[in-house]
Symmetry: C2
């Protein structure tokens, strides 16, 4: 955690620092990120940096905390559009709302997920942090299996891994493509992007193999209404 001095800083200065850190991590990842560059880009002296933070990891952990806080804030006044949704509908809502969040904080999300999904995998430091995220998914899936929505022969941990993989794949896709657009929020909300997300989630739910009820049929009511 950052030292108290950091939190005594005027907000403007604090933001300049964390923005520089976000850019640095988004560009170089955790290990290749340079404190020298961060201080240069935030216009503070090196000595000051060490009055605010312990080290590089400390800054990153703070970014994690910021992300979590902002996400909580964002989800606080969002509510699923209907009650009695099944697990897949709920997951779909979660993902879509999450992607809206991503388009609101693209650099921050990019920085954090770049580190967490790449180098973070090989550092034990983040194992427990990741674990916290999976906990929610795990209980959700357990319930879905009990409800008969998810195939019980696919065990819980495997299902968790699958849903995380999907979630990350969609998030990566949105960030990667979204950053190329001039207005990422508009792009994410566009019918085309939403349909792509729907397709991905449809495949997660029903698989790649063609069945009697395919994607076009399932989502027909949306495009015709």
């Amino acid at each position: 955690m950052p030292k108290p001095t950091f939190f005594n800083l005027p907000e403007e200065k604090r933001e300049k620092i964390i923005n520089a850190a976000i850019d640095e991590f988004a560009e170089y990842g955790l290990e290749k990120a340079s404190i020298n560059r961060i201080v240069a880009n935030s216009g503070i002296a090196k000595g000051s940096f060490y009055q605010y933070f312990e080290d590089k990891h400390d800054v990153f952990l703070h970014l994690l905390a910021v992300l979590e806080r902002e996400k909580m804030e964002y989800f606080k006044d969002k509510h699923p559009p209907a009650r009695n949704m099944d697990t897949f509908q709920y997951f779909r809502w979660m993902i879509k709302t999450g992607m809206e969040f991503n388009s609101a904080y693209p650099r921050l999300v990019q920085a954090v997920s770049r580190v967490m999904l790449n180098e973070g995998m090989y550092y034990l430091d983040f194992a427990n942090i990741r674990e916290r995220t999976t906990q929610g998914l795990r209980t959700m899936i357990r319930q879905a299996i009990q409800n008969g929505e998810v195939d019980p022969s696919v065990d819980v941990d495997l299902a968790v891994m699958i849903m995380e993989t999907w979630s990350n794949a969609i998030s990566n896709y949105i960030l990667q493509e979204g950053m190329k657009q001039k207005d990422i929020m508009k792009w994410v909300r566009s019918a085309k992007t939403q349909e792509t997300i729907d397709k991905m989630l449809y495949v997660m739910e029903y698989g790649l193999r063609k069945t009697e009820s395919d994607f076009a049929k399932t989502f027909q009511e949306r495009t015709t209404s």
Copy 2:
């Protein structure tokens, strides 16, 4: 590509160097890999290194070439167990054979995929190399759509991304868990591991949602015969 001098080396020395490089890349990735450590671990002088290779990237590209060569060699005398397999059966065979290959060259695969799937994503250098891999998948999927095996409303590029994601997820799982075992080849071939792979591929094919024909039913004949 390495310089001619490298290929004139006695095989033992050459192997010692590439093994040190494999270990280095597997442990530290591409950017954090240290030439100093590589030369120290292979027992050669720094100057010699630069007589063999241009730089770090050069070594890695050589590892890529080695991997490709070994994989070709490995697949050369493996053949699908039956003709007239459908696309998903063929993909399953490909994955399983690939996982056997992984268990034969775990460190090499680990090193290469660590780099390609992480930092490699952000370096354009590897875009064309990755493209070569996807080409095969793309034609396979196009054919599968024509055959009516894959839902045509899921477009080709999306399907490619999905299958690559799955392929990587399974490979990562096998390497990560496999490296914990004392005999990785035996572990990969074990009934339990094979069943896990089957489950993953089943979910890719039919989705997470429970349907009238679930995994247990589909694979019943195997466990009872």
